[in-house]
Symmetry: C2
Subunit: 211 residues, 2 copies
Amino acid sequence: MEKKGILLVISGFSGAGKGTLVKKLMETYDEYALSVSMTTRAPREGEQEGVHYFFTDRERFEKTIAEDGLIEYAQYCGNYYGTPRAYVESQLARGSNVILEIEMQGALQIKQKIPEALLLFVTPPSAAELERRLVGRGTETPEVIAKRLARAYEESEGMDAYDYIVVNDVLEECVEEVHRLVDAARCEPIRRTEFIKEITEELKGFAKGAE
Amino acid sequence: MEKKGILLVISGFSGAGKGTLVKKLMETYDEYALSVSMTTRAPREGEQEGVHYFFTDRERFEKTIAEDGLIEYAQYCGNYYGTPRAYVESQLARGSNVILEIEMQGALQIKQKIPEALLLFVTPPSAAELERRLVGRGTETPEVIAKRLARAYEESEGMDAYDYIVVNDVLEECVEEVHRLVDAARCEPIRRTEFIKEITEELKGFAKGAE
């Protein structure tokens, strides 16, 4: 069977616990790697090249875009951010599942370019719980919380474009579920193309031999 | 979350070990039920009504077709065979996963009518292994084996219409894999429609409240 890793695109409501989930998943299993973004923004104190970001300038970033070297990119506050194809592909080739934590529009962009990417949408068990978590952080004003809930409503309309909806209730269970889903996804025909091709060819040989 | 069972449609090459797999799955887990077909053929020695088949006559069978009471049906040797909708739906409603072991064309018919049905295709690890198993049975002539392999080649072209490809190498592992796939399938948006609807409505309420 194919040994290649799976490109795991994780989105979800702000407050759904994606960051903690990804962290715990990486701590629990060896076979996951986090995608490292490329950016034109200046490094901040303590940020390391190749760990937090690949730092570059506008000229080289735009050259990379032109060469189709990014699987998705966007601009924020005058800086480019993108996902370098080469890094993702080398990790996948070594058999690591590469995690990309990214918002909905970027996720759907990736699905179009890379149909075998696995898209997970992380959600709390209910909207009331989402609100509780956002309020519980104690770091955001009621206005910001209201904005995030309004944004969550918009995103809820796009959830069904994802491969799986993951309910993050108990963190440890959710980590196990995500890991099982990645395993299950390996059985989808789109990720068994090599196997299907091989057995079809082999059967064709038998069928011809029998004629 | 939804408690409804999943309609599990199992196809696969002749010789892939579907029958043994289904038997073992039912023995290992309580939550599976086997679909019982309706037929116009006469009961054979030892066959029980409602266990092996629902026996009926042509007139009632055709009435059931007309009332859309079958999720699929076909004729073989002048007799009707079909899957009664009512039985499947009552089992699903009680939370059982209903297993339907059926060939490819019937399976694809069902997927069209019931998009949330889960289609599994069972295959040995290779065509050589398939041949070994068919020969190993010692019950079929070389001509029959050649026909089955030719049929397998035809079917291999349709494998990618299935939700998952299950490689049946070691039986016990395969049973576990099927069970995990059914679990994973519960996270697909098509089987989380209730949840998506509820959280969308709830978020809409929050979004409106914030306006």
